[in-house]
């Protein structure tokens, strides 16, 4: 693996290898006093965040540090980025300064792909930590890791993804990854919050994708439900009439939770809007896997760095 730009096109074997490595790392580090591995000693990892996301950046930073990589954080505010330097120039500068891996969060869809192109000559690996409304592959990987923890396996499972799919990079990455791993993904949203032609998307061969506008009939059939964040600005954009109406139709309330089978966990990529897409009681219930997702996030990101940086230069 040279880059991790998305889960669209990520093959099943590679995805499973990363998830297995993540599991191995988790077991290795379990109960240890010193959570530090020498594996990436001498490798330099740079996080470049053009959007604020403390949780994702910190997760990557911890992952890098636990692997003994030198992690340098560049934020748009505190560098020449803020002075209008182009993404390309910034990337080339960081590569010239010796970055082995650049982890990028950017508001423009495709920014990580562009970066990978500009850095091809330098040989720097690129990890997409969220690009616009396109992909957020490590989030999908940590969701899959969490589903494996809770359900044993993703294959053959029916996973609901509820909410603003249209603007969600988390949803896109999950659609591709979970279907590649053999799950049936059910997207549940009002028609205004679904991407064009999503029902006809070609997705992972092993799984399938269906679309629904009603949450209640789907809940009893699901093995897990993933609740997406609904941003307030979408309401002002007229995608739905009011927060109240959205919460009534799609919010995961305590009553709705009762419709979900006992074994099915509730996932949320965070940050949560309690009372909007998820009720406080559901968010705090043992059914919610949210803190487990955060923990898995570190291990999955360690695994990604391992697969990018710990093999042969030109290795697969």
């Amino acid at each position: 693996m040279k880059h991790l730009l998305g889960t669209d096109g990520l093959d099943r074997d590679t995805a499973l290898a990363v998830l297995d490595t993540s599991d191995g790392l988790k077991r290795t580090l379990l109960g240890r006093e010193v959570r530090k591995l020498p594996t990436l000693r001498g490798r330099t990892v740079i996080t470049m965040f053009y959007e604020n996301s403390t949780r994702t950046r910190v997760s990557f930073e911890i992952a890098g540090k636990w692997m003994s990589a030198d992690v340098v954080n560049v934020s748009a505010g505190g560098s020449s980025v803020g002075k209008g330097e182009s993404l390309r120039d910034t990337a080339l500068t960081l590569a010239a300064a010796g970055a082995d891996c650049v982890i990028v969060r950017h508001p423009a869809s495709g920014a990580a792909h562009r970066l990978a192109g500009w850095l091809a000559e330098a040989g720097t690996s690129v990890v997409n930590a969220g690009d616009g409304t396109h992909e957020h592959p490590t989030q999908a990987l940590l969701d899959a890791a969490t589903l494996r923890d809770r359900l044993g396996d993703v294959e053959g499972r029916r996973i609901g993804v509820v909410g603003d799919v249209l603007h969600s990079r988390v949803a896109r990455s999950n659609v591709h990854l979970l279907t590649t791993l053999g799950a049936e993904v059910v997207l549940v949203a009002p028609p205004t919050l679904l991407p064009t032609g999503v029902a006809d998307w070609s997705v992972g061969d092993a799984g399938s994708l269906v679309v629904s506008h009603e949450l209640d009939p789907e809940l009893p059939t699901l093995d897990a439900v993933m609740v997406l964040r609904v941003q307030a600005e979408r309401m002002h954009g007229g995608f739905f009439p009011s927060a109240r109406e959205y919460a009534i139709a799609y919010g995961l309330s305590e009553n709705r939770l009762r419709l979900l089978p006992e074994h099915a966990p509730v996932l949320h990529p965070g940050p949560m809007l309690r009372g909007m897409e998820i009720s406080a009681a559901v968010a705090d219930s043992p059914r919610a896997a949210i803190t487990q997702q955060v923990t898995n996030g570190v291990h999955v990101r360690m695994a990604v760095l391992y697969h990018l940086l710990a093999g042969e230069e030109d290795g697969s």
Binding site: A108, G110, R114, G132, T133, H134, R172, T196
Partner: protein
């Protein structure tokens, strides 16, 4: 003026090769064999097809304002090399060509360069803001003699402003060229609204945003009895609307760009903004429908929408990039590839869509004329067997943003003649 003898060209690719004698900018003789006097410049055109010089209704020459990407001089060179003898320079310069001073400047610079007739397009509204009409009459009556008005780059979205513009230009013998894009439906739009953009997470530019404006404007044009020209038709639905409007007698004409004939949104997966253009690359189905519409005359002509951009405005992330592609030097080869080679158009048809119809739409009396004795010697000589590989850096434009980089294209412009003067020959502009 010197005498030029074009030897062995085949007009419109029909019949046998002939010699064409040109003196004082006019075709004096066409015969199987014309003898050259001493002092006559002879152009060996064996195997070449002679066509009337091309007319581009839609070019961005960027002067004044962005001379770092194109100037009237470099753009004129690109035009001559592409076989063009007349181009219409869009009004979205800086300052905007919304007054007589700017349009006369563009017109004068074009004359000074002298490689191609540069006709400025005037803005419909002041500053392209869509709020109040620019001084259309003053621009029409200026030395530039503006006959096409357009806010291209932006749509004249307000239906009342559009109605007034259509109505007002009736008295000026001019036409409004509409960039059809309902702005409320394209807020933040980055790519054709479809499966590809949805997967790539790019905000959609729906076909209906173009089609609804074209339908509205056709109704308005018919209502006020004015002429309308539709810029860069990009969807199958727009072709259907035009077919319907023309069928009921609306005085509407339309252009399609070479890139919308050839390319589609499958190219977007690399996120390389060289493929970013407005209106966006549509689906392969749309491209096929546009080729059919151009062949049957629903779409009248080909216009390049030649849009030079600096590398920093293209070598960036998709959403930050400016829309637009170079087009002047690649237009004919794309038409050959998409229309001539598949048998959708013969060379007579190429003359129609590249020269005759655009000249008619713009009301140019001395362009798009027949290749006949007594007519202006404004010609393009094309090698139908020629093939060449596109290199952005080798194009005459200052900018290099061609989406055809590395592509081998059929059909080469060998020479361009403007009123008897060679403006380009064998890949070199006359000045």
């Amino acid at each position: 003026m010197t005498t030029l003898l074009i030897r062995g060209a085949t007009p419109y690719g029909e019949g046998g090769p002939v010699d064409v004698l040109v003196r004082d900018g006019v075709i004096r003789e066409i015969a199987d064999r014309v003898d050259a006097d001493a002092g006559t410049e002879v152009l060996d055109a064996g195997g070449l097809v002679a066509l009337p010089g091309f007319v581009d209704l839609h070019t961005h020459l960027r002067e004044p304002g962005r001379e770092d990407t194109e100037t009237i001089e470099t753009g004129s060179r690109a035009a001559a090399l592409g076989g063009y003898t007349a181009v219409f320079a869009m009004a979205n310069t800086d300052p905007v060509a919304d007054n007589a001073v700017v349009v006369e400047h563009v017109w004068r610079r074009g004359r000074e360069v002298g490689l191609v007739d540069v006709h400025p397009v005037g803005a419909v509204t002041v500053g392209l803001k869509g709020e109040r009409l620019a001084e259309l009459g003053t621009m029409a009556r200026s030395a530039a003699g503006v006959r096409i008005f357009s806010d291209d780059g932006l749509c004249v979205a307000d239906p009342l402003i559009m109605r007034r513009a259509l109505e007002y230009t009736k008295a000026l013998d001019a036409v409004i060229a509409q960039h059809a894009e309902e702005p409320r439906l394209t807020v933040g739009a980055q790519a054709h609204e479809g499966e590809q953009a949805a997967r790539l997470g790019l905000a959609g530019w729906p076909a209906v945003a173009e089609e609804s404006i074209v339908a509205r404007d056709c109704l308005l044009a018919r209502h006020v009895g004015a002429r309308l020209h539709v810029c860069h038709v990009s969807t199958e639905g727009t072709a259907e609307v035009l077919r319907w409007a023309k069928g009921r007698g609306t005085r509407v004409s339309a252009e399609v760009t070479p890139h919308h004939l050839l390319l589609d949104d499958s190219r977007l997966s690399t996120y390389d903004p060289v493929n970013k253009v407005n209106p966006p690359l549509r689906t392969a189905t749309d491209a096929a429908a546009l080729r059919a519409a151009l062949a049957d005359g629903t779409v009248d002509c080909v216009a390049t929408d030649h849009a030079p951009h600096a590398s920093q405005d293209k070598d960036c992330e998709w959403s930050a990039a400016r829309p637009g592609m170079l087009g002047l030097q690649t237009a004919l080869p794309i038409v050959v590839q998409t229309m001539v080679n598949p048998g959708l158009l013969d060379w007579r048809g190429v003359a129609r869509v590249m020269s005759e119809r655009p000249a008619e739409i713009a009301g140019l009396p001395d362009q798009g004329r027949p290749i006949a004795v007594g007519e202006p010697a404004t010609l393009t000589l094309v090698d139908p067997a020629g093939r060449w590989t596109v290199r952005g850096a080798d194009l005459a434009s200052v900018a290099a943003n061609t989406p055809y980089e590395g592509m081998e294209l059929p059909g080469a412009v060998v020479a361009t003649v403007l009123r008897g003067a060679l403006t380009a020959r064998d890949g070199k502009a006359a000045k």
